[in-house]
Amino acid sequence: MTKKATVRVGDRVFSTTTVVAGAVILATLAAVAIFLVIQSIPALVAGEGELPNDSANFWQYVGPLVFGTVWAAFLALLFATPLSIGIALFISHYAPRRVSQTLGYIIDLLAAVPSVVFGLWGIVVLAPLVQPLYQWLGDNLGWIPLFAGPISGTGRTILTAAMVLAVMVIPIMTAICREVFLQAPRLHEEAALALGATKWEMIRMSVLPFARSGIVSAVMLGLGRALGETFAVAMVLSPAFIVKFALLQAQNPNTIAANIALQFPEATGLSVNALVASGLVLFVVTLLVNVLARWIISRRAAFSGADA
């Protein structure tokens, strides 16, 4: 005969507190969603001539913006992910101990630079720097559709904006990856090395599988930042209301967040609703991307210390 387990007061109080915290998040998100939906309805049902850019309906208005957002974020992550993993590996496993700590500080610091400063750096330093490169690419490799001309004279293209986004996102991703790589169990690492594995094999066998879910978390955080980044893109990009893949031209698809930043101050009436509605669409796009990512992770079992 077993006695029924006593439930301690402390346990009950603590677990309830954690549930309440979770509920607060649910409530906040629900509130944001409700706000977005209510403010968006007038724009969603609007007809011909009422929406900005002479759009016949809302989907025509928001389509190019969605394309621009996803395309810019995709390019940014394409640059940032391998670089972040590389830097994090370098800091955690290749660099000498003292150097790695300093490097860790510097990278963390860069996560704090305001997006406005990234925007300023983008237009003052990066765009003029890459414009000759774009010119060269357009002149010599212009037969590739991605590099088709006419080349922008100022260098403020979606490729430049993606580079700025990548630079913004790298510190966050690197910090998380670094923490996770450092947490890899030293016993496993040393066992691998003792058996004669090279450093790369050791990393491949004991660090990366351990860190897989951490890397995906880092990528999700980076993606979240890249999708929602407002001011840096608004300042650096030369936007136009189109959909295209060309990377080097002067007319580029705009992102939703940058579009809101650009138009909101001067918007009145239905334009405001249209902008909020585009914010709702961004919300939904992030949701879908996250669903996709979660599905991808769940197909591989992640190694973790706690019970899964």
Partner: protein, 373 residues
Amino acid sequence: MTTTAPEAEAAAVGGAPGIHSPHVPLTGGTLPRGTTWMVLAGGWLFAGAFFGLLWAAGITTTFSLVGTVFFGTVLFDLVLYVISRIVEGARRAKDRLVTSLVSTAFVIALLPLVSLIWTVVLGGMARLDVAFFTQSMRNVVGEGGGALHAIIGTLLITLAAAVISVPIGLLTSIYLVEYGRGPFARAITFLVDVMTGIPSIVAGLFVFALFALIAGPAVRNGFMGAVALSVLMIPVVVRSSEEILRLVPNELREASYALGVPKWLTILKIVLPTSLAGIVTGVMLAIARVIGETAPLLLVTGFTFSMNYNLFDDRMMTLPVFVYTQYTQAAGVSAQASIDRAWTAALTLIVIMLVLNLAGRLIAKIFAPKRGL
């Protein structure tokens, strides 16, 4: 079992395929020490010579340093891999390749970051004077003035945002890792992911609408800014602490339960201190994420020239809004003065983050238990 490995090894060490050498060296050849640097230098020299020839022949107008370094490095990666493969074997060659790739990635990624810091420092030197840190912009036209009102505003608002979001975020991640099993936990995980994607300007619009409902549309104060920032901070805190908490080995928890310690005490006294360093990094990351946010603060906290210590009353100035407005309002006769103030404010923001980071690491070092094996 013992015959296949030596064969593979022999084949990799340049032996002719198909010949089974009975005497197999247990160690592969090793490249001499310093080979890496020599090949790197060689690669750069070669690329330099190539671009130099292009310049001399008049095909390019200037000597391309960037091209030299880039192609030299690529050449180095290739040549080192090939040489190592021949001398040392496939496994070591791959190892060297990864080392060189990782180092190259590091250098490439560091270049824009260094350039950014350099630009900010260079631009910010102009107004690094006492006046900048002890004055506000009240009644200042043109030159002079300072950013004290913005600095105080940023510190107060970020502190308030942290006070709101760290408990909520940390408790949520504890729930997800320690307690959550069912649909509620899955829903929270999913929604936190979604929250990471809220654009900062939408968070600002939301807080604006919320407070307009409660207190009327004219309300602007620092507290609204703090709420908008915590909407952005919470997912970062949850995500990063959840990862760190998951990495705490189960053995520690089980040992604690075996000794009769209740679950909540285990979490407070064992799990949290063990992961303290990671959690502090996560909190620092979250603070870094929001300390530079301009869009929501522009909307809900407003714009003022004067000092304001009260979070709940009237507009407050913050550093990112200060940088943005000084830069965009730079016009007329004293445009350069505004631009100088903008860069110095950006530099101040980075220095504040540096100090906070160091403080965080100090806290982690003092309070975390000593790491064993």
